[in-house]
Symmetry: C2
Subunit: 203 residues, 2 copies
DNA sequence: CAAAATTAATGAACAGTGTTTATTAAAAAT
DNA sequence: ATTTTTAATAAACACTGTTCATTAATTTTG
């Protein structure tokens, strides 16, 4: 049965070869701008070959979506070490914002694009995303226990914070901040973040 | 010079014919799923004709983007009649949410898609959008004057509120709420909105 | 080891996309 | 009536995702 094993390993290697290549192209062009033919050319195989390893373009999308969350968790690796939950929450927000700024293509696929969420199976394979989210909710809960946040349903509070963060991030990423002149935009964003954190903090 | 006038009128009629048709198709298919050939077929002209009236697909996009904001303002026509600014603000939020729910294709083009904001000229032609936004900022300012909101930079507060509203709306529209079971999702959204409104309200 | 069976890779095609251009048909001006 | 201007189009270009019959390589069997 050693042949079958090697076969399977080779299949896996090919999959990662395709994904790595798709990944590289995707990072500097954006997903919609990367075609199957582009990927095929990069790995020096024919376009049809890719369909032996992935059902369709969406499945590649899906795989990259998962990888983006892995990368996001790596990006936030320092967070659990922050003992004070409110400090951690604030840092989490800053990191979220920083991630969006530094890796807009990732942010796009994780939260903005509709494609990777069309299928239903994507919940099962959202392990890394679920991890990030539950860590976030846990931090909110701890903030309540330590009296930094008022006692509410912590899931509701978490959703509210995330909504705000995601809202401002996607307005920026999608260029919907033109009503604020370029020079003051960053200032206003910063002020807004501080205001929000102040408003939800228990007084 | 009566010929030139008629010519111009006909040109304008053709433009609106194309736009109306594009609009109809767009509403039930979404912009990316509507092709120039689809539009051409609907108005019974050749695809090339459309390029005599619009530079490219993005220009059609742009026109629909404007129309969406006109429609949005119509949708909110009852708002200015609400005298109490905080009541108005709350209603504005509810209407924003309702708009997203009832007209996701519009919401998509207005705030989510990247295409219509690629060019730089789109600021000048954003009259209806600017109108909606300044009315919103004005309401926030009034809320401060009447003591419903703490005295802060009203533009910063407005951005914060909008970010929250846009955040939750786009999470919903883009199917990023799967961590909350279907049954309780609506409940949680409602609770979040109430929580947010309570937190920003002056105490 | 040779023949048969399985597997992997591909070229070519299909049906679609946005966009351009040379050509034709119609209308207006001379 | 003839020339000029304008409008509309067919056809093409260079792409896209995807499928499938054919070929080439590899593994299994006799």
């Amino acid at each position: 049965m050693t042949v079958k094993q090697r076969r399977e390993r080779e299949k896996e290697e090919m999959r990662t070869l395709i994904l790595d290549s798709a990944h590289k192209l995707f990072i500097d062009k954006g997903f919609d701008e990367v075609s199957i033919r582009n990927i095929a050319e990069a790995i020096e195989y024919s376009p049809a070959t890719i369909y032996l390893y992935f059902k369709d373009k969406n499945e590649i999308f899906h795989a990259l979506h998962q990888e983006a969350f892995r990368f996001y968790n790596q990006f936030n690796i320092e967070l659990p070490a922050i003992r004070d939950p409110f400090d951690r929450l604030v840092k989490m927000g800053e990191k979220y914002f920083e991630f969006m700024t530094l890796h807009p293509k990732y942010y796009n696929i994780m939260f903005l694009m509709e494609a990777p969420m069309r299928n239903d199976e994507c919940i099962d394979e959202w392990e890394e995303g679920a991890k990030a989210h539950s860590f976030f909710e846990q931090t909110v809960l701890e903030c309540m226990e330590k009296g930094y946040l008022a006692a509410d349903d912590h899931r509701v509070v978490a959703l509210t914070i995330w909504s705000y963060m995601h809202g401002i991030c996607s307005l920026i990423i999608r260029n919907r901040m033109k009503m604020y002149p370029e020079e003051i935009r960053e200032q206003i964003q910063k002020q807004s973040f501080e205001l929000f954190m102040n408003k939800i903090r228990k007084r």
